[in-house]
């Protein structure tokens, strides 16, 4: 029940924000902040205590009710360590999003927060749903408010970017819908009844080459979301044109739904086909890492650079998933969390700069270190976090992924490691162009105020924690990784495709 509440609080908070905004727009901000904080507190309350590593069963809490019994569809939510971590990331960044919109968004405040909170609700639903139909519903429902966020409050080319974002994701997810429906029908043919339940579908022997095609249907949807080259072209546009909070949600959370989908559905449901497919996935991952890094280097738009760096970083997640061993999967989860935090911070900084300078063009920046020292120092911090400096979260994730991948495919690992060099180049280049250099005696710009400091400090703490002491996170994720691995191992050994 608490899982349902988690989603309902966000949905209701969004409506409440829209309603109170009619009287005073400022109230909408407090209402949304309150509801996201409440949801975050409830999420933290679910953190498993005691000896989690040896707890039996990966699932922490669940909820199930009939929804459309005629089609074997139920309102089935369940949370394991992996989804807990991702839900907490979502809600944590949700708080940041509300804070970061405080000054940036001045028009249609109520409707804005409605969309913001509903996007968060959709994402939380995606991480919790274990009924494939329900999963698809959340998967699509998070798109609509996101579309509004980009197309109403975005920058110059918002309509184009929003349209492209929506069409890319929708078209690919319809392919996934075909695969979901076909999977349920395979289950009916084998066991006599239709079901969309994840657990029922997990132990099923998919005949022949069907599995491979169904796997591809799922993979395409998640690969577009992740994103994977060559389906990444929606990302730079959407991330650049979205308002700051929109970019934070997109980069911090929405991309993770792709990685989550691969971990939760693609490999466990279709272990053997996924194994066959791994070389292709490796190639796509490496291509993403290198291509993203090269393109990031070539950007002059601050946000666009960060957007392309996401393409590069998420390539690592793809490697981690398809290497499929404990180290790599652990790394993929950590990478998702750390990338969520560090990239959100960079997008926030881009937003703060745009608010002050009215430009995102790094050619017009330079010398900002002396004009806004606190802002510049934090930007430097998150830039080096993003390039994978040891001691910060991203390093742990990337290191574990490379470690795990090395056991599977050496060449891939070597090529991926080159991406790290690329990351150093474009990250430091970003700092140099935007913050170093002469300031030409330009007037000081307003440095960070207390609210901005608070949100960036939260992100700083998170990334340092992930870098220095990731063990609690690994402990929480471990049972779910073991669960997924045991299923895959069982199915591969049993010769199930």
């Amino acid at each position: 029940m608490i899982l349902v509440l988690l989603i309902v609080i966000l949905l209701a908070g969004g409506i409440a924000a829209a309603v109170v905004a009619g009287r005073n727009p400022e109230h909408a901000r407090y209402v949304s902040l309150g509801s996201v904080l409440l949801a975050l507190a409830m999420g933290l309350g679910l953190w498993p205590g005691g000896d989690v590593l040896n707890a039996d069963g990966a699932w922490l809490v669940g909820y199930r009710a009939a929804w459309i019994p005629q089609l074997g569809i139920s309102l089935h939510l369940a949370m394991d360590g992996m989804s807990l971590l991702l839900v907490l990331l979502t809600l944590f960044l949700g708080v940041v999003c509300v804070l970061v919109s405080w000054r940036e968004i001045t028009e249609k405040v109520g409707f804005y927060h409605l969309n913001l909170l509903w996007t968060l609700a959709g994402v939380v639903g995606v991480f919790l749903a274990v009924d494939l139909f329900l999963f698809f519903v959340f998967w699509e429902v998070m798109l609509v408010p996101m579309y509004f966020l980009i197309s109403i409050w975005g920058h110059e080319q918002r309509e184009y970017a929003a349209l492209k974002f929506f069409i890319f994701t929708q078209a690919s997810s319809l392919l996934m819908l075909i695969a979901i429906v076909a999977l349920a029908l395979v289950h009916r043919d084998l066991h006599g009844y239709v079901t969309f339940n994840y657990f029922d579908l997990l132990d099923m022997d998919i005949p022949g080459s069907t599995g491979y095609w169904l796997m591809l249907g799922f993979f395409v949807a998640f690969a577009v979301k992740l994103p994977t080259v060559p389906a990444h072209t929606w990302l730079p546009d959407a991330h650049t044109q979205a308002p700051t909070a929109g970019s934070v949600i997109l980069a911090g959370v929405l991309l993770k739904t792709g990685g989550y989908g691969l971990l939760r559905f693609v490999v466990p449901l279709f272990p053997e086909p996924a194994l066959d497919f791994a070389p292709v996935a490796f190639a796509l991952g490496v291509a993403g890492i290198l291509y993203g890094a090269v393109l990031a280097f070539a950007q002059s738009d601050f946000k666009r650079l960060v957007a392309y760096s996401s393409v590069s970083h998420m390539g690592f997640v793809l490697l981690g998933v398809f290497a499929w061993n404990a180290a790599a999967v652990n790394g993929a989860i950590l990478q998702m969390l750390a990338h969520g935090v560090s990239t959100s911070a960079l997008f926030m900084i881009a937003g703060l700069l745009q608010y002050r300078l009215h430009t995102r063009d790094m050619g017009e920046m330079g010398g900002l270190w002396s004009r806004a020292p606190r802002l510049a120092a934090l930007a430097m911090f998150f830039a080096v976090a993003s390039l994978g400096l040891p001691g910060l979260g991203n390093f742990v994730g990337e290191f574990l992924i490379l470690l795990g991948t090395f056991r599977v495919d050496v060449l891939t690992t070597v090529l991926a490691a080159i991406g790290l060099v690329g990351a150093s180049i474009y990250s430091l280049y970003l700092v140099q162009r935007a913050f170093h250099g002469p300031d030409d005696d330009a007037p000081r710009i307003e440095d960070l105020d207390r609210r901005e400091m608070t949100s960036l400090a939260m992100l700083t703490v998170a990334i340092v924690w992930l870098g220095l002491y990731p063990q609690p996170v690994i402990d929480v994720a471990m049972p779910s990784i073991r669960f997924l691995e045991s299923i895959v191992a069982f199915r591969v050994e049993a010769g199930l495709p």
Binding site: G22, W67, I68, P69, Q70, L71, K108, F136, V137, E140, V141, L143, V144, Y147, F148, S151, I152, E159, A162, L163, F166, I167, Q170, A171, L174, L175, L177, I178, V181, A182, L185
Partner: protein, 485 residues
């Protein structure tokens, strides 16, 4: 005829009596509001008779009609749809034209739709088609002084007449081949009645399908659609797009299912080609339009293309999934499209007859009329098949039907069509978001309830209800499907 048969026909009889009463009434009472009220009352009274008719179980009335769950399900749907159209029309500005006769025509057309879905014999099929089609011609051209309406009416008259002729010829050939006018009797496995009967059969089916494709505005028989959609009064367009096409589709489905004509390989092949071409051409042509009604016209061509998937997959699972897909899609399409034309009609009313035509005239709607824009957004999302709207349930069933018959190529065409469709549906939303040229008058608060707004609210409610909790709807459709397959 026995008493039980009269009971089964109660909805049809009430409606027929209502038509006569209406005719008598409007001859003496020149009161538009009263006429609208009476029309709605008779339509709903007929709906109330449905449980009465259902109480005796499926029942054949002579050789001509069969009142089973399938017939009653669609009768209910179309009569409620007709009543909502009356509510929309009651506010639609048609200065100089008394609407009494329009309501009468609408009742006649609804009666035609009800006969069509209850027919099990070519005679009643034809009767229903004509009752529906001829009333619609008059409805489209009702404001004869409007250029567009007259043009649309004449186009519809000529093409509808021609297509009915083609259907009739097809029926004649089928009769020649099988010696029976009953659906079940005209099955393929019936003994050949005369030499060359295979050939007559094929030709008859081809003509029958061509005629129906005209009525359903499928490519390449779609040419009348945009002009008629654009010219007719908005509520009439809504009625034509939903009740008329839905009834024709439901009747055709019953014919194919009961006669077994779908076992004829070429029938399925032809339908596949028509479906794919309709989906792609409809969506691609809609991209090029700038007029709201023309966009909806081409989008409806595409939607009927999706609907054809249900016919094509009749072979799988004894037709269960196909029938459910057809029912679900017609419900989704009816609710959504009636809503879309309701929005257009309502805007024409509140802008005192200056109906917005091009997309540009929808600018700023989100901020000047937030409730209407919210309803329209829901409608567009439903047309695009986004979850939690009824449109998604329809699309989901189309996918299920296609997957259960393993028509993967067809489904890929559906995906491609949907992706293109998304572009213009979202574009309409973008126009509504953009600030209007002359500044925005922000209004909030619920506008006062009028009949047309009530109709729109009902449709929006159904749109979300069936999208969020489709269990009841699916159960009803299942019951209907079991009576014919």
């Amino acid at each position: 005829m026995s008493a039980a048969e009269f009971l089964a026909m109660a909805p049809l009889l009430v409606l027929a009596f209502g038509c006569v009463a209406m005719m008598a009434m409007i001859a003496f009472i020149d009161q538009e509001q009263t006429a609208a009220l009476v029309a709605v009352a008779y339509l709903l009274l007929a709906v109330l008779c449905v449980p009465l008719a259902a109480s005796g179980g499926a029942r054949a009335v002579g050789a001509l009609l069969v009142i089973d769950a399938w017939a009653l399900f669609f009768t209910t749907l179309f009569l409620i749809g007709g009543a909502l159209v009356v509510l929309q029309a009651s506010e639609y500005p048609m200065p100089g034209y008394r609407k009494g006769e329009l309501y009468l025509l609408l009742m006649l057309a609804s009666l035609g739709a009800a006969v069509l879905v209850s027919s099990r014999h070519f005679a009643t099929l034809f009767l229903g088609l004509e009752l529906l089609g001829i009333s619609l011609v008059a409805m489209v051209a009702y404001p004869v002084g409007w250029r567009g309406a007259l043009e649309g009416g004449v186009k519809y008259l000529v093409l509808s007449g021609a297509s009915t002729g083609i259907v009739l010829f097809g029926i004649a050939l089928l009769y020649a081949a099988t010696g029976s006018l009953e659906f079940a009797g005209s099955a393929l496995h019936a003994a050949p009645a005369m030499p060359l009967s295979e050939l007559w059969m094929a030709a008859g089916l081809a003509l029958l399908l061509a005629g129906f494709a005209f009525k359903l505005s499928l490519v390449p028989f779609h040419l009348w659609t945009p002009d008629v959609y654009q010219g007719a009064p908005a509520p009439v367009t809504g009625f034509l797009a939903t009740v008329s096409k839905g009834a024709v589709a439901a009747a055709l489905f019953r014919y194919l299912a009961e006669s077994g004509a779908w076992k004829h390989e070429p029938v399925i092949d032809v339908l596949i080609v028509i479906a794919v071409v309709s989906m792609l051409a409809g969506n691609l042509l809609a991209l090029l339009q700038d007029n709201m009604r023309r966009i909806l016209a081409y989008s409806s061509i595409a939607h009927l293309g999706y609907l054809l998937v249900a016919f094509i997959t009749l072979a799988a699972d004894r037709g269960d999934v196909a029938g459910e897909a057809l029912g679900a899609y017609i419900v989704a399409y009816l609710v959504t499209t009636l809503g879309a034309f309701g929005v257009i009609a309502h805007l024409a009313a509140v802008r005192r007859g200056r109906e917005p035509g091009s997309l540009d005239e929808y600018r700023g709607l989100f901020w000047s009329r937030p409730w209407l824009a919210a309803a329209f957004t829901l409608i567009l999302l439903s047309l695009a098949g986004i979850p939690l709207t009824v449109g998604f349930i329809g699309k989901f069933y189309i996918f299920a039907a296609g997957a259960s018959a393993s028509h993967w190529g067809l489904l890929v065409a559906v995906v491609a069509g949907s992706a293109i469709g998304l572009f213009y549906y979202l574009r309409i939303i973008l126009f509504m978001i953009r600030p209007a040229a002359g500044g925005v008058t922000v209004s909030s608060g619920l506008p006062p309830l009028t009949p047309a707004r009530f109709a729109l609210a009902v449709l929006a409610l159904f749109l979300v209800w069936f999208g969020v909790a489709p269990g009841g709807l699916i159960a009803a459709i299942r019951g209907a499907v079991h009576s014919i397959v």
